[in-house]
Amino acid sequence: MNKKQRKMLFRIIIAAVFLVLLNFIPVTGTAVFLLYLIPYLVVGYDILWKALKGIKNHQVFDENFLMAVATIGAIALALYEKSSDYTEAIAVMLFYQIGEWFQSYAVGKSRRNISELMDIRPDYANIEKDGRLEKTDPDEVETGSVIVVQPGEKVPIDGIVEEGESSLNTSALTGESLPRDVEKGDEIISGCINMTGVLKIRTTKEFGESTVSKILDLVENASSRKSKSEDFISRFARIYTPAVCCAALALAFLPPLVRMLGMGMAAEWGTWIYRALTFLVISCPCALVISIPLSFFAGIGGAGNAGVLVKGSNYLETLSQTKIMVFDKTGTLTQGVFEVNGIHHSEMENEKLIEYAALAESASSHPISKSLQRAYGKEIDRSRVSDIREISGNGIIAKVDGREIAIGNDKLMKHMGISFINCHSVGTILHMAVDHKYAGHIVISDVVKPHSKEAVQELKKAGIRKTVMLTGDAKKVAEQVAEDLGLDGVYSELLPADKVEKVEELMKNKPEKEKLAFVGDGMNDAPVLRRADIGIAMGAMGSDAAIEAADVVLMDDDPMQISKAIKISRKCLRIVYQNIVFAIGIKVICLVLGAVGIASMWLAIFADVGVMILAVLNAIRALFVKKL
């Protein structure tokens, strides 16, 4: 509770106690009025003051003004009818203030909760100076400096471990509770907590460019991108208050005039003015206006804590409407860790073939090249390689030790007019030609991630209608993987540009309301991530391109996170719709009951504040996503 809230709570309690006591004090006449004025002013003086200022600034539909009119009107009616029943007006003011207080308290609380969830901001970095550790502002640490991270401290800046080994707790970043072990030479990402050993880290980025800064920036700006539901609510709020006020005005004057002039009955001004004042009590759209953004904010916060970073409320909304899920294969459904599984029809020694292959692919960081380099196992002498030409989607041609090495798929061989031997193994087949002569092929296969199959099933359960896999890989491999995982469709042997085309084609053939999501590992999927209705980048820790291009970033590379993201978005949007229907519904019912005279002002304010409290509590539910 802050100072403002404490003061308000104090005023509310004083006024409430006073109001109850007044029921037992036996006074009559003007004294009653004056006594009742005390709690009214105690709890509502600021509203009256703001109402006056509102009039000065021509803010007719200001809620303070309306509340003032409603309560003063009720008091005036009580005076006029000599009923001495002032309790109602005071209670309306009291409950209105309770509602406002609760709203401010709940919002403040969830603001704090959510920032605690994302509490990954490091406060300092340790730099060793003359054998002593000095705490420095992370902003001032230059790239390439060595920082020391002790057990229990957060890694402040991205870097590479220079010395020491330790376990890292990455749960604040990825939602994954298993610690990750690091040792000398490993890349390390800021935001992790060092658990066991002292680490010396050579920074590779500035603080502002580090993972932790990027994530914080992303989360903090997320709720600035407003969803359609939020736009709808602000538009609704803009017309709701004026509309209810006009209705109140009509209710105060039309029925009595009609009764008096048209039907020759008594006008009953008091009754109708009272009903009109009841309208004013319900005229504040607060419950709606607060609960919708709060739901999104809580949803995004909860998701962030589970390792799912959503860049905006609008993306959370789109994600919840996703019916078609398109996956990239490598690195998303499969581990992207390839292994050389066989060498067939080699014209030379297997080792020599692998050596040529590894050297020719030495400039590439593609997982397949990496696997060749691993299979070769020795240090690569790049000076032996020259004239590397990459033929996108087909392979590489390079000069190694003066011999021309071509390595790639069958398209490359066809393109070069070299006859080749087809392979019957499932995997990625790399044909090789040395000096334009076929030299055999290498079989490389990828391993499906342990949770991929489960993830696909979970997605189906969560209501995804169609799952499609896109890959640049050979048809045989792709189909095998798709069958193993139970996917609905597969398109193989695609160049990066073909992937965009395929996604566009899928988007054209789907109904407007169903959204298409693309999941990739973000390495070379940026164009597709941008093109899809919603782009999800996986395992993107440290990959700037992916964080930039995607709308949703999964910090972990476990495919179960995809279904988790969908479930979080569905839950959040369910809460949003519940709140919209609930809040508008109750208001409409109250207005109708108020117009026909069934609902009193008491009921109106109860309903109004009650709806707000329930809607806010419901909104906070979006925060709890751990068990989804």
Binding site: N57, E100, V107, K226, I290, P293
Partner: protein, 72 residues
């Protein structure tokens, strides 16, 4: 040019009103108020001085919601 300002306001509807008031101010191309983060992002039109424009924005916001503050 875009800038972000810290704000203080109590109710969500008031935040919406501030957004509207800011958008109507001369020199403001677009403005959005983030009630949950208590932040106002303002995009300025070319040729306007953000400092002067923000004084106006603040004045206009005060008009619609007396109890608000923009920390310039």
């Amino acid at each position: 040019m875009k800038k972000s300002y810290k704000i203080d306001v109590d109710c969500a509807n008031c935040a919406n009103k501030m957004e509207e008031a800011a958008q109507k101010t001369a020199g403001v191309k677009n403005a959005s108020v983030n009630f949950m983060m208590l932040k106002m992002n303002v995009e300025f039109e070319d040729g306007y001085n953000p400092k002067e424009v923000m004084q106006e924005v603040r004045k206009n916001c005060k008009k619609v919601e007396d109890d608000c503050e923009i920390y310039l």
